[in-house]
Symmetry: C2
Amino acid sequence: MPSPSPAIRWSQPTDRDAILALIRDTGFFRDDEIEIAREVLDDALRDGPSGDYQSYTALLAGRPVGWVCFGHTPCTIGTYDIYWIAVDRGEQGKGIGRALLQDAESRIAGLGGRISVLETSGRGLYDSTRGFYLKLGYIEEARLREFYAPGDDKVVYTKRLGGGQGRG
Amino acid sequence: MPSPSPAIRWSQPTDRDAILALIRDTGFFRDDEIEIAREVLDDALRDGPSGDYQSYTALLAGRPVGWVCFGHTPCTIGTYDIYWIAVDRGEQGKGIGRALLQDAESRIAGLGGRISVLETSGRGLYDSTRGFYLKLGYIEEARLREFYAPGDDKVVYTKRLGGGQGRG
């Protein structure tokens, strides 16, 4: 039986604790990264869609099970960074990450975005993350050796969205 | 006769107008980039050295003739971005940019930085900028096609500072 599709909507203040908990529970993020996620989420909740961060929550049966946060990359025309994407540890493998990412890409294209950018670590812990991006049509466009820390490369994935500036 | 070395010190509120004017006059930055430089400079002036942005002014005979702004790259251990470097259009070719960049690298190493990162455009307008980074020991580590705009690649230069985490 296929998994039910999550509902995806703009993040609400009532999602906050659940989003922060699911980010923490994934085991993919260090404390300093979680702190930055918190700041970004709080900015989005405060500023709304006209702010720098676009924040969407995936829900199953009304419960927050995933989060994506993206925004226009400063000093670019039509490039968007997907800063965060995370799925509740107990709900992974059900297509929630895919739904969140594709929803974000649609919204970015709708804003006139040309390119979606995802950055992640080259460490083994992130093998499945990188495989997920490749499966969703991203290409590895750059690798910066030891960027995050000694032994921890930054890998940059991009995807051409086929939209264009005219749509923004 | 060799050019006199500039004095380099933490940026002061009285430098603000001169820095913004020299950035504008270089012709290298778009209005939206200048606006971001202004925000970054104002953050540095407000927050001081404990803030996110480290901002230094080069002076010749007491007059601001150059500006560099760098900071720790979030979510990294020991990586620093040099966000802005600019020299007064009338004072270029006198070693001010080199002095500013090397001073920034020393400070970054003193803060425990391992890697200094500079990003610039692949457009012809920036040929001299890229040549300057290469001459100062940077390598082109990545190129993201059309990142800034259609036809405008982002080129990422890095330099290993030979310092290390132990010094921070």
